[in-house]
């Protein structure tokens, strides 16, 4: 179902639930993996993915359509991730490195990375990046999102995003080269 059809059906109370169910089914995989790559842990990603869709439900009526629905949902998911990580630091008085160490420990325990040394190093290298730069890297490297769309999601200029991705890639390459 096209986004436009989903929005039209959502506007009608009689078909609202059906439309929203379609919306969740359409975007759940992308939102989940976007969140999961930021918070690493499945349970945290599950909670946050649900929170994202609850927010989408609450605010979909006021969605102004000046961005695509996909971009708008990504923006909500991105904000949820960044808020989650910063509140985690505030809640436990953890410095930046301790949260990175916690996420690194989860990556090391991930069965999908067992036996793939280079991929494990890549994931650990990504976790050394600041949250926002990690977000930019994930959107570009894994989701292959165009810079213009990334700009709408993050509220950052295309030039700044290009520079951020370039620096992130260099840091990651340096980290993996040094750890060999």
């Amino acid at each position: 179902m096209e986004d436009q059809d989903i929005l039209l059906k959502f506007a009608d109370p009689a078909s609202r639930n059906v439309a929203f169910n379609q919306l969740v089914r359409k975007y759940q995989t992308k939102v989940y993996w976007h969140v999961r790559k930021m918070v690493i842990d499945h349970d945290d990603a599950d909670d946050l993915t649900q929170d994202v869709f609850v927010k989408v439900w609450k605010h979909l009526e006021s969605f102004r359509k000046d961005a695509s629905l996909y971009t708008w949902i990504y923006r909500i998911a991105t904000n949820e991730c960044l808020n989650f990580l910063s509140s985690k630091r505030r809640k436990f008085f953890l410095p930046l490195n301790d949260v990175a160490a916690e996420l690194t420990a989860k990556v090391e325990a991930d069965p999908a990375l067992a036996g793939d040394d280079i991929e494990l190093k890549l994931q650990k290298a990504i976790l050394t990046l600041p949250d926002k730069q990690r977000l930019v890297f994930n959107l570009r490297y894994y989701d292959e999102m165009p810079y213009e769309q990334m700009s709408e999601v993050t509220g950052t200029s295309v030039g700044a995003l290009k520079a951020s991705y370039h620096h992130a890639a260099k840091k990651i390459e340096h980290y993996i080269t040094q750890s060999d």
């Binding site: 639930n17 929203f20 169910n21 969740v24 089914r25 759940q28 995989t29 989940y32 993996w33 999961r36 790559k37 690493i40 499945h42 990603a45 599950d46 993915t49 649900q50 869709f53 609850v54 439900w57 609450k58 990556v107 991930d110 069965p111 999908a112 990375l113 280079i118 991929e119 890549l122 994931q123 490297y141 894994y142 890639a169 990651i172 390459e173 993996i176 080269t177 040094q178 060999d180």
Partner: protein, 153 residues
């Protein structure tokens, strides 16, 4: 020499981490729908609208204030009333005829001892200091000159 790692040469895994449990994406829409649907009405008493409008920290602060206020009110209401002024008590006592006082003491077999007098400073703070500081000899002298002595000894 270390071989430089290049991201472009590395095969990209779109989902590098372990997949979620089987059936996760089949159940997720239903779980989201459960969260966005209004909860069915239960037998619970509804929360007043003004209370529901407050944020959780505000509601907690309000509850704490009510409990502390209750404690404070209970403490204040249980305070003993002001003690009657000693001067008025002494004035009342002065109006009682001396013979009646002696009769009362005899009838109730009360005796004023030195230890009773020694306790006075702690109970009757407003009594004249000159009296409270009386030595045992002075107290005895005062008792000796009482005209009632012969009546009860």
């Amino acid at each position: 020499m270390k071989t430089p790692f290049r991201l472009d040469d590395h095969p990209r895994r779109p989902q590098p981490l372990a997949s979620p449990p089987d059936g996760y994406f089949d159940q997720l829409p239903m779980r989201v729908m459960q969260r966005v649907q209004p909860a069915p009405a239960t037998g619970r008493r509804p929360v007043p609208e003004w209370l529901a409008a407050l944020s959780a920290p505000l509601r907690t602060a309000l509850a704490a204030s009510v409990v502390l206020g209750g404690f404070a009110a209970s403490f204040l209401l249980n305070q003993p009333g002001p003690l009657p002024a000693t001067s008025s008590a002494a004035g009342t006592l002065a109006t009682v005829p001396r013979t009646e006082l002696v009769e009362y003491l005899l009838a109730s077999e009360q005796r004023v001892t030195l230890s009773d007098l020694a306790e006075l400073p702690t109970t009757e703070q407003a009594l004249p200091e000159a009296y409270l500081r009386a030595s045992p000899a002075e107290v005895q002298d005062l008792l000796d000159i009482q005209p009632t002595e012969d009546l009860y000894l």
